[in-house]
């Protein structure tokens, strides 16, 4: 049994049975537009990063999927299936709305950053509301380890950018909640330093009004 549930930008996502368990199979297919050597390098690098950091995230106290199996021959990963709507869908549909959902998002990011894990792809489609208040984080293909404030700031900048581009009506409110959650894990000093680097990152935007 294999059902295609989503055609992502870099991988196809299937719902499958794996050793009797309901699972997700994520397969990174070759891109026809890419040079073969670059294509192989990117697919390999991201599959390895995903497999490594998805487990490291668990040690950081974040709810990431359990890794079942990695098939090196075709760059596919089998992992735990999270059942629930993506935060993106929750924001688009007020009926699903739970208050302060972004505090949980902020706490998860804070927990990753405390262990120097940069997610690298913090869009609203990569958080899943599994059950009330329980939040899962997926998609660690662009993740890496770093203790640089700059990398953490760029990570947060991406969430902000996603909120502003796709959920502009609630962006400010949601980002404030996120920072509250982040602060509860990282503390005031660290949060304020990251926020100030984030402002620098934002000013690098083209024709942003600087200073």
């Amino acid at each position: 049994m294999e059902t295609l549930i989503r055609k992502g930008a870099e991988a196809d996502i299937y719902k499958v049975r794996w050793n009797g368990l309901l699972a997700i199979k994520k397969i990174r297919l070759p891109k026809g537009y890419r040079q073969p050597s670059l294509d192989a390098e990117l697919r390999k690098r991201r599959t390895i990063h995903e497999a490594t950091l998805i487990s490291a995230a668990k040690l950081a106290g974040v709810n990431s999927p359990l890794l079942y199996y990695l098939d090196k021959s075709n760059y596919s990963i089998y992992m735990e299936h999270f059942d629930g709507p993506r935060i993106k869908d929750v924001l688009d549909d007020p009926d699903l709305g739970t208050t302060k959902i972004f505090e949980a998002v902020g706490r998860s990011i804070g927990s990753l950053h405390r262990e120097d894990i940069i997610h690298g792809d913090l869009t609203t489609s990569n958080f899943i509301l599994i059950s009330d208040g329980c939040l899962g984080i997926i998609d660690f293909g662009l993740s890496f380890r770093s203790n640089r404030l700059e990398d953490k700031a760029v990570d947060l900048h991406l969430v902000k950018q996603t909120l502003e581009s796709a959920h502009s009506a609630v962006a400010d409110e949601m980002f404030t909640d996120l920072i509250d959650g982040y602060r509860s894990i990282s503390g005031d000093e660290s949060t304020n330093r990251i926020k100030s680097v984030m402002r620098q990152v934002q000013r690098r935007g083209r024709y942003a009004r600087s200073v």
Binding site: Y33, R34, H157, L158, S210
Partner: protein, 340 residues
Amino acid sequence: MNKPKHKKLTCLGIESTAHTFGSSLVSLDEENQGTIISDSRSVYQPPPGSGIHPREAYQHHSDVCSGVLIESLRKAKMDMDSVDVIAYAGGPGLGPCLRVGAVVARSLAAYYHKPIIAANHAIGHIELACMLTRATNPIVLLVSGGHTAILAFSNGRWRFFGETLDITIGQLLDQFGRAAGYASPSGAIIERCASKSEEYLLLPYTLKGNDPSFSGMLTSAKRLLSSGKNMDDICFSIQETAFSNLCEVTERALAFTEHDEVLLTGGVAANTRLQEMLTEMCRSRGSTFRVIPRQFSGDCGAQIAWVGLLSYLHGMRLDISKSIVRQSWRLDQVDILWRH
């Protein structure tokens, strides 16, 4: 687009944000169909190995402005009496260059008693491309010397889904070209060199979430050049790596927003290889790919005139005493009154 009732309108658009001084007449008929009646321009050419010098570009624009303006009117077989509104590029761009266009527009508006509109140059690239390709609600990849951005329309504005974290794709090509001793803009020369090679050299590929970065690639490419690697191979590798990055982030935007249409615009949109790669990416997802015609991909008066028409039609008015220029005028600050 909603359709207020109106007579046919004609706009004179003046472009002068960077190296191009352009003047164009564009009309909007009763059915809201746009037509480019004429489009004239003169491009400032810096000497080989150097970039735009703002003062030199300003001097160029001052020298050519009246000639270009007159040519656009003559080609359209029109005079100023038949112009309903005058639009100028209000930004973003180089201050000295912007001021030339604004002065021309202000003088004409005052002398002929015509309404004046400040058009955002980047919005011009997007909206002119939509008009010419009949794209309705696309993911826009805007690639030029000033921009490298992936945009989607939402809640009244064009919004940044992703954007370069450092230099633009145009700067990558121009700065590498300059290091190799070519004149700017060097996109066309690099494309020609690249077409002679199939030897791919691995270059840094940096994508942070939805934001590409090209400065590491530029450094590596320059290093390859000084180590004596073949120029054609380096050009080929720059194009393959940078354009793959753009394809990936565009595909990310498609997957995230669940849109099914891509629109390529801006000066670098003229690159055939970039078009080919995006075509392949869109084909594999069942999405539609559109690209602005080569003739209008670079900076031109038509993009300014078209935004001027849309703004004017939807009630925007600008007092001539407030017709300033803004070097920093981000495209997501502009309310897009004509889209819902």
